[in-house]
Symmetry: C2
Subunit: 260 residues, 2 copies
Amino acid sequence: MARRARAGRVSTLKATLRPLTGDSHRRASVDIHQYLRDLILSNALPPETILSQVEVADCLKVSRTPVREALRMLMEEGLVKAEPNYRCRVLGFDPRELEALYVSRIANEGIAAAVTVQSMTDSDIKKLAELLHELGNDERPRNLRRWLKNHRTFHGLLFCRANPLLQKRMLVDCQRSERYIYNTVQAGLTDLFRRAAIEHEKIYEACKRRQPATVVALLTDHLAAAAIDIMAEFAPDWEPTTLRNAILLMHRGAAHLDKA
Amino acid sequence: MARRARAGRVSTLKATLRPLTGDSHRRASVDIHQYLRDLILSNALPPETILSQVEVADCLKVSRTPVREALRMLMEEGLVKAEPNYRCRVLGFDPRELEALYVSRIANEGIAAAVTVQSMTDSDIKKLAELLHELGNDERPRNLRRWLKNHRTFHGLLFCRANPLLQKRMLVDCQRSERYIYNTVQAGLTDLFRRAAIEHEKIYEACKRRQPATVVALLTDHLAAAAIDIMAEFAPDWEPTTLRNAILLMHRGAAHLDKA
DNA sequence: CCATCAAAAAGTGTATCCACTTATGATCTT
DNA sequence: AAGATCATAAGTGGATACACTTTTTGATGG
């Protein structure tokens, strides 16, 4: 079996992880999962960080059992790599992953939005408006973590009538792409937010008018713009063929959606 | 918290599960996962069957630890439901799930096929031909399990150039839909296979000619036909709006794909 | 006969333990 | 001094133990 890279930084775990304080009546594995996921997405635990079961358990003052479950969940979400008998590692950034994520989001969120917009209640629209206000249009949000949470909720509302299992998948994709956003923002890129604000506004207006086809088109452009923006900063040489296919498909397709 | 249905049949577990015989050097949790998944997909473990950790562990002659991991994996795949402190149950059939599955497959496999077909090697084409032959065109395959395995491989080849994580997801979707196919076949419906044979042939021909747009269109129709067929047998009153949207999107979109 | 409810049985989540695998670092070789 | 070798430390997967939760059971009263 191929031997994995020796690389990796010295363990930052002891400096980063704090003992779990949550109510002991909730499941530890779930809390640990969320805690670690948050740290990975925000780059507090950078790529290649080794997450050994014992060390994590030690830092968090719990036993290995719930840590194992949490690590397995992170693996399912594509945030860490775990091979049999080897310690778990935080996965690195990969332009192919980034592209796949946004392709998946464009296709799935688009289709899900098409059906959701048609049956949106006035209360849904109102929630969208509130989130829009929360998100603001700063060049750079004061609290990135909260901005991303609201952003996730905004997108979540656009597909809230889809199948629950697909919804969960889309949320996972959304969160996984947040990791790239954190990284890009830390690198200084800030064009993202101003443009996102404009695009969110347009999407909201189209939802308000209950125009699925327009929403799908706008959503496709919104996601594609973000993908290309992040990609430019992150892997400028990458040729996003699949992404272009997806954009084209959704655009051409969406134009005919209303005639269904 | 809502109390779950008391229903459920008497435990068939002891009659169904056999002790694990695999090589002890492989991970038990993975073997258990595959074993249980196979039984669920083929309806040997019907909906509402209770999969308690202790009972499964007992039947399989292993401890609860790997069983827990296996059950968690099944949960991620949407085959069982597990709530904290409650025993795990096999999920029932749900037209919404069926629709969501095929919508997801139509969108994702379509986009993935678009990029894969362009870069298919002659060896890939040859493999497709072999599988086509294996699948045959019987009204009803002699060995359904093997037919489905080959079928999965055939579809897998159509998106083998996509991102690995998406590939895994598509395979999971494919397997989840097999559960509905098993059920439909057991109910007597057999139109599926003859038509599938014709459609697979057409897809193969388009791959051979390296025509992505055609493959996407044919694949969309192939999946949509299967979905509608199964749905008709299974939930005749269901109005598959989302599915129709997806078909439309992919068709209109695919037509313009070649101009990329 | 059915509903109620307390106690027993069974089940889940977490901690700990053991056997075997992988990583580390000192020692030896050249 | 660089590389191979091997004993030891550390880590993982699986088994077992235990505290707490849910389910079942069965006695009791209407």
